[in-house]
C-alpha cells in the first residue's frame, strides 16, 4: 500500500515535469512574438491545461492497454506470472526513467517528448522484468512509434501550408493591423494548444495511475467503459497545471527563439496546425507527442514564410534527442528496475522501491541545482539567440557563471 502511494506521488511528479517541460509547446511562439507577457502566458497555459485534462479519457485508455502487457485485454485480469508487486515496481521504475530524462533534456533546453520518455521508461522496466513478452510491441508500433515518426512531418506540412496561405492572403493588409489581428489569433490558437496538451498529456499520467490500480486490483481493467475515478483526473489535472505554470523557460526559449525568429502570423499558423493535429489525434486515442507536433509546426512556419531562416543546427540537435529519448529513458527505467529488484532480493520490496525513489530525488535535485546556476527565467527568456554556440543559456548569464567559477 505504501508503495502504491509512493507510485502515485511519483506519477504526479512525472505529470508535473511533463507540464513544465511542455509549456513551450503552447506558449513559446506567443512569448517570442510578444503577444503575451511571459508570466501571463504560463498562467493561461496552466489554467487551460487544468481544464483540458477533464475533457476526455481516450488517450488514458491507450496507455493502459497498448504499452505493457500486464492485463488480459478482454477480462482485465492480470496475466499469469505477474504478481501485483512486480507490476508496481515496473511502473515505478518506468516513471523514474521518464522523470529523469525529462529533467535532463530540460537542463539543455531540448524540447524532447515527455510521452516518449514515459513510454521508454515503462518499456525498459517491462523488458528488464518480463523480457520481450511483457511489452505490447504491436500496440507500441501502431499507437506510439508510427505516430511519432509521422506527427512532426504532418505538422510541418500543415503549418507550412497555413503560413504560406496566411502571408499570401494578408500581403496587402497594413503591417500594424496585420500584427495586431494575428496577435489575437495567436493567443486563441495557443490557448487551444494548451487545452489540447491537457487532454493529451495529463491523460498519459492518468493512464499510468490507472495501470497501477489495475495491477493491484483496485480498479477493473475496463477504463474505456467505466471511465476513471474523478480523483485521478483531478490530481493529474492539478499536477500538470502547476507544472505548466512554473514554466520550463529553457525549452520555451529554444522553441520561441532558437529554431526560427517568429512573427505573429507565423506563430498563429504554427499554433493552429498544432492544435488541429493534437486535438484530432486525442479524439482518436493516439498518444502522440505534443512536443513533436509543436516543433514540427514551428519548423513548418519557418519553411512556409518566404525568406525566413530556420536554424537547422538547432533542429538537428533536437532530432537526435528525439531519436534517443525512447531508448535512453528505457535504459534508465531498466536500471531502476534492476536496482530495486536486487535490493529487494536481500531485504523487502518496500526498501528496494524506496532506494530508487531516493536516487530519483537526489538526481532531480542535482539537475535543478545545475539549472539554477545558469538560470533562464521569465526575464531573459527572449534574450537574443547566440547562433555561434546555439546554447540555450543567454550569453551574459553564461559569462556571469564562468566569472563566478573563476573567483
Amino acid at each position: 500500500m505504501i508503495i502504491l502511494v509512493l507510485l502515485i506521488v511519483t506519477a504526479l511528479a512525472f505529470d508535473f515535469t511533463n507540464g513544465f517541460h511542455d509549456t513551450g509547446n503552447a506558449m513559446a511562439t506567443s512569448i517570442a512574438t510578444g503577444a503575451l507577457k511571459p508570466k501571463t502566458a504560463v498562467l493561461l497555459a496552466g489554467v487551460l491545461n487544468l481544464v483540458g485534462a477533464f475533457l476526455s479519457v481516450e488517450v488514458a485508455v491507450t496507455v493502459t492497454t497498448q504499452v505493457l502487457k500486464v492485463q488480459n485485454s478482454k477480462t482485465g485480469q492480470l496475466l499469469p506470472g505477474i504478481t501485483p508487486s512486480t507490476g508496481l515496481t515496473i511502473i515505478f521504475a518506468g516513471l523514474i526513467g521518464g522523470i529523469l530524462w525529462n529533467l535532463l533534456t530540460w537542463l539543455f533546453g531540448i524540447p524532447s517528448s515527455s510521452s516518449h520518455a514515459l513510454f521508454g521508461g515503462l518499456i525498459g522496466a517491462g523488458l528488464a522484468a518480463l523480457g520481450s513478452k511483457g511489452v505490447n510491441w504491436t500496440g507500441i508500433t501502431q499507437k506510439v512509434l508510427i505516430p511519432a515518426a509521422a506527427a512532426p512531418v504532418i505538422a510541418g506540412i500543415v503549418a507550412a501550408a497555413g503560413t504560406w496561405l496566411v502571408y499570401r492572403i494578408t500581403r496587402k493588409v497594413m503591417k500594424k493591423r496585420r500584427e495586431d489581428g494575428f496577435r489575437w489569433g495567436q493567443i486563441a490558437t495557443a490557448s487551444l494548444v494548451a487545452l489540447s496538451h491537457g487532454t493529451n498529456d495529463a491523460q498519459k499520467t492518468m493512464g499510468v495511475i490507472a495501470l497501477a490500480l489495475i495491477t493491484t486490483g483496485h480498479l477493473t481493467g475496463n477504463v474505456a467503459k467505466d471511465g476513471l475515478p474523478i480523483w485521478i483526473i483531478f490530481s493529474c489535472a492539478l499536477a500538470i497545471g502547476l507544472g505548466t505554470y512554473i514554466g520550463g523557460w529553457r525549452v520555451i526559449r529554444t522553441l520561441g527563439k532558437g529554431l526560427v525568429e517568429i512573427e505573429s502570423p507565423q506563430g498563429f499558423a504554427a499554433e493552429a496546425s498544432s492544435a488541429a493535429i493534437i486535438l484530432s489525434s486525442s479524439a482518436a486515442g493516439m498518444a502522440l507527442s505534443t512536443t513533436h507536433v509543436a516543433t514540427g509546426s514551428i519548423l513548418g512556419s519557418g519553411v512556409g514564410k518566404p525568406g525566413a531562416e530556420v536554424r537547422w543546427a538547432v533542429a538537428g540537435r533536437m532530432l537526435v534527442a528525439w531519436l534517443i529519448t525512447l531508448p535512453a529513458a528505457a535504459l534508465v527505467g531498466a536500471l531502476s528496475f534492476w536496482i530495486s529488484n536486487s535490493v529487494s532480493s536481500f531485504s523487502t520490496q518496500l526498501v528496494g522501491d524506496g532506494v530508487i525513489f531516493l536516487i530519483l530525488c537526489a538526481l532531480s535535485f542535482y539537475i535543478w541545482w545545475r539549472a539554477q546556476k545558469q538560470k533562464v527565467d521569465a526575464n531573459n527568456v527572449n534574450a537574443d539567440w547566440d547562433s555561434s554556440t546555439n546554447s540555450v543559456v543567454p550569453a551574459d548569464v553564461r559569462e556571469d557563471a564562468t566569472d563566478k567559477a573563476a573567483v
Partner: protein
C-alpha cells in the same frame, strides 16, 4: 496499408482545420481591415465599408464556431459518461 490511410486522414483533417481555418481567419482580417478604411501596405487609401467589416466579423465568428464544435465533439464521451448529455444525438460514430 491501414496506417497510411489513417495518417492520410490526419493529414487531411490537419490541412482543413490547421491550415484552412487560419486562411479563413486571414480572409476575415483582410475584409475587416479593408472595411475599416485607411491605407493599405502599398499606400492606396480606402473609404470605410461597413458591409466588408461585418463580413470580416462573420468570418471570425465562423472560425470560433468551428472550434467550439470541435471541442464539444472531443468532450462527447465524457459528457455522456458524467452528465448523460449527448450534444450530437444524430451522429453515431461508435
Amino acid at each position: 496499408m491501414i496506417y497510411a490511410e489513417s495518417l492520410l486522414k490526419v493529414l487531411v483533417v490537419g490541412l482543413v482545420l490547421g491550415a484552412g481555418l487560419p486562411a479563413v481567419f486571414a480572409l476575415g482580417l483582410v475584409a475587416f481591415s479593408t472595411g475599416s478604411g485607411g491605407a493599405d501596405a502599398d499606400g492606396t487609401a480606402h473609404a470605410p465599408n461597413p458591409a466588408l467589416k461585418y463580413l470580416g466579423l462573420a468570418l471570425f465568428l465562423f472560425v470560433a464556431w468551428v472550434i467550439v464544435t470541435a471541442i464539444a465533439w472531443i468532450m462527447r464521451a465524457t459528457l455522456i459518461h458524467h452528465f448523460g448529455i449527448d450534444l450530437f444525438p444524430f451522429i453515431h460514430s461508435k
